[in-house]
């Protein structure tokens, strides 16, 4: 069948080609040799390059082809459908979760057993994002958590003591937001507190004691009154600061990744944020006084939610054992340690401080922070490391949800409709619940 298809393709090509050559047919992700091809993985720094080098050194007989570029679901699924998938796929764990229920990835239990991988070294929230109906479908890589960032100077200038900025007491947070934000007619000059909804809704719901979905990932709980309350509260915070259009227009004009970011210019006072942003701030505006704190639930306990990438092996690859070996090597503690060391040395050559490496591998992190990380010259990084390390194991994650993408779109869309005033919180979440139920049911039939 596939040879017939190749013949037709070749014929079409030869017949059609008056010009331009068979543009990039070779770029289809067909492994030509007996090596490994990965998709979705990039080589931006030593964390990636050093680990690939480690695998190559251990397995010189296996050529590895890293096809760089952002992960693309359509490309991936059509390659699986065509029976020519890449040997390994690297993507966000939520994205991979969506493919598990589709049957596009293979279970890794045998592989993990064969290589005697101790699953206990991985953080359980990360494994939970890759486990479906009792079987494991991926090996987790990096681990991101959410923290609370407070621009101290900005808060002080507004006449508020920085330590009072907290997410524990919602009523107080609303008042604080009023004081910290600066609204001038229909223009907003400063964001007092950005709740980061719709994206961080899982975190706000958790803070209110609710999960967006049942532990087995099959029953959405988007219309739970506590979720509705979280939606109502966070969207009201935005409404207090001039409303979504004004709020977002100001946010869109921030130089978030630059020297004149919103914390440096005082255009924003505080917000919850993924922990990678601490490094961005430390590199771009080391002088800005920003403090890092855990996000707290309504009882005052530190909580966070985790996300990150993982390796998966598609169904129908030629040599699953070899692919598995690669994933195991990439996520092993020794490999991580070597990569973190290489990263630290490379940064030192540029005269920049090493700010740590956060992985889903507990053993790797333990060694990295014990042996490689030293209190940096930048206090912000130091404060960040202390908070993030503490949260790494406390952070929760959503389980594998069939039709994960549609599930995310359902609650994010609902929160967005409330933000823009198109719907009330209860009605929006009722609709989201219906949409999520339908999508999950469709994915399972």
């Amino acid at each position: 069948m596939s040879s017939l298809r190749t013949a037709i393709a070749a014929l079409t090509c030869t017949a059609l080609l008056a010009c331009a050559g068979c543009g990039g047919v070779g770029a289809a992700l067909t492994p030509e040799t007996a090596g490994l091809t990965t998709m979705g993985f990039g080589l931006p720094d030593e964390h990636a390059t050093a680990r690939v080098a480690a695998y190559r050194a251990a397995h010189p007989e296996t050529p590895v082809r890293i096809v760089e570029g952002a992960f693309d679901a359509q490309q991936f699924l059509s390659s699986v459908a065509a029976g020519r998938p890449p040997d390994l796929v690297y993507a966000d764990r939520t994205t991979l979760g969506g493919f598990i229920a589709r049957g596009a990835l293979q279970p890794l239990d045998d592989c993990v057993r064969r290589h005697r991988v101790d699953l206990g070294q991985f953080r359980s929230a990360a494994l939970g994002q890759l486990t479906y109906q009792g079987r494991l479908y991926g090996l987790p890589e990096f681990n991101l958590v959410r923290v609370l960032l407070v621009g101290e100077d900005t808060v002080r200038a507004a006449g508020v003591a920085p330590e009072r900025v907290s997410t524990t007491d919602w009523g107080a947070l609303a008042e604080l937001t009023d004081r910290l934000s600066e609204v001038d007619g229909n223009r907003l000059r400063r964001i007092g507190f950005d709740p980061k909804v719709p994206e961080f809704l899982p975190l706000w719901a958790k803070a209110n004691g609710a999960d967006l979905v049942s532990p087995d990932g099959r029953t959405p709980r988007l219309d739970d009154p506590r979720v509705v309350e979280a939606v109502a509260f966070t969207t009201d915070l935005v409404r207090r600061q001039g409303g979504w259009p004004v709020f977002k227009a100001l946010r869109d004009s921030f130089d978030t990744h630059g020297a004149r970011n919103e914390f440096a210019t005082g255009q924003e006072a505080a917000r919850p944020m993924e922990n990678w942003y601490i490094n961005t701030l430390a590199n771009n505006s080391p002088k800005a006084a920003v403090s890092v704190r855990p996000f707290t639930d309504r009882q005052g306990n530190p909580i966070s939610y985790a996300s990150g990438s993982a390796w998966g092996i598609p169904v129908g690859v030629r040599d699953p054992a070899k692919a598995c070996e690669f994933a195991v090597t990439m996520t092993a503690a020794d490999t991580w340690f070597a990569a973190a060391k290489a990263r630290k040395e490379a940064l030192a050559r540029k005269g920049r401080p090493y700010s740590g490496t956060y992985t889903a591998n507990r053993v790797a992190d333990g060694r990295i922070f014990a042996e490689l990380y030293s209190a940096a010259s930048v206090p912000l990084i130091d404060a960040g490391v202390r908070v993030v390390l503490d949260l790494q194991d406390k952070a929760f994650a959503l389980p594998v949800v069939p039709a994960g993408l549609e599930f995310t779109q359902a609650y994010e869309g609902a929160a967005h409709r409330v933000l823009t005033g198109a719907q009330d919180p209860a009605g929006a979440m009722r609709q989201a619940q219906r949409e999520a139920e339908l999508a999950i049911e469709r994915a399972r039939r």
Partner: protein, 271 residues
């Protein structure tokens, strides 16, 4: 005639409004990041480094080359095939001619969205789903609008020329290549430059078919730049605007050189 000053003034204001975005684009692409939002048309401090930075950050030269190759292939293919078909409709008299030509006009009205998915599945089945082939190969089969346009050109030639050539014993292919085509050369150029422009500005097809960044055309690449450095990305708008400037300039130059053809192509009287 009394009202002339008003007309001139109105047109000058319009021209200023229409030119402003271009001037704003070029000047903003030469500003440092924190000044991009200041709306002045004078970049200060003058920062041409944006261009070299974006040139290094993404494979712009490769994308420009891809666009050029795909554009030339698409334009060449559609010009030749549409001319063939248009000549068939213009010269020959056969029974179902009007019915078929009505069908050509009918397909012009068919929304592209209707065939989007099945055509993708066709290419995917042929194993060409992640190549540049689908971006131009369909043009080998003519395009309804260009067939219509070129037919007008052929019809406006006097038939005697063709008849005489037939009497002299020219075969049909010969009649087509050595008599008909040279006669409608302006029309061929119109079709060529139009398709070049279409291909250069097209986003949807590259979004559907191109997955590998090395295969991207300019619009697809620019969308990737916008996603990475713009909205929701790293907010490095000066790079987005520099890339936008690079993407815009070639077509503006082509237009200024081939203006006559663009405008005559649009203004062919439709009967």
């Amino acid at each position: 005639m009394r009202r002339r000053p008003f007309t001139v003034l109105a047109l000058l204001v319009l021209a200023a409004l229409f030119l402003f975005p271009f001037l704003w684009l070029v000047s903003a692409s030469l500003k440092p990041r924190e000044r991009v939002f200041d709306n002045s048309l004078w970049p200060d401090p003058f920062t041409p480094a944006n261009f070299s930075e974006v040139w290094q950050a993404v494979p712009l030269p490769l994308w420009l080359l891809n666009s050029l190759l795909v554009g030339l292939a698409a334009a060449l293919a559609v010009t030749l095939s549409s001319a063939l078909v248009a000549f068939g409709f213009a010269y020959f008299r056969f029974r179902s001619r009007n019915l078929l030509f009505g069908l050509v006009l009918g397909t012009m009205m068919l929304p592209a969205a209707v065939t989007m998915v099945p055509v993708y599945l066709e290419w995917d089945w042929l194993g060409l789903g992640n190549t540049q082939v689908p971006l131009w190969a369909q043009n080998l089969f003519g395009s309804a609008f260009f067939v219509f346009l070129l037919r007008q050109f052929f019809l406006s030639q006097s038939r005697e020329v063709f008849e005489a050539a037939r009497v002299d014993g020219a075969s049909f292919p010969r009649l087509f290549t050595s008599i008909a085509l040279p006669l409608v050369r302006p029309g061929l150029i119109v079709v060529f430059v139009f398709e070049l422009k279409n291909s250069w500005t097209e986003l949807m097809k590259p979004l559907i078919y191109l997955r590998d960044p090395d295969l991207f055309t300019v619009p697809r690449g620019l969308k990737a730049v916008l996603d990475r450095f713009g909205q929701g990305g790293e907010a490095q708008w000066e790079l987005v605007l520099a890339a936008s400037t690079i993407a815009t300039v070639p077509m503006i130059v082509v237009f200024l050189l081939a203006q006559r053809y663009f405008l005559s192509g649009l203004t062919t009287q439709r009967r």
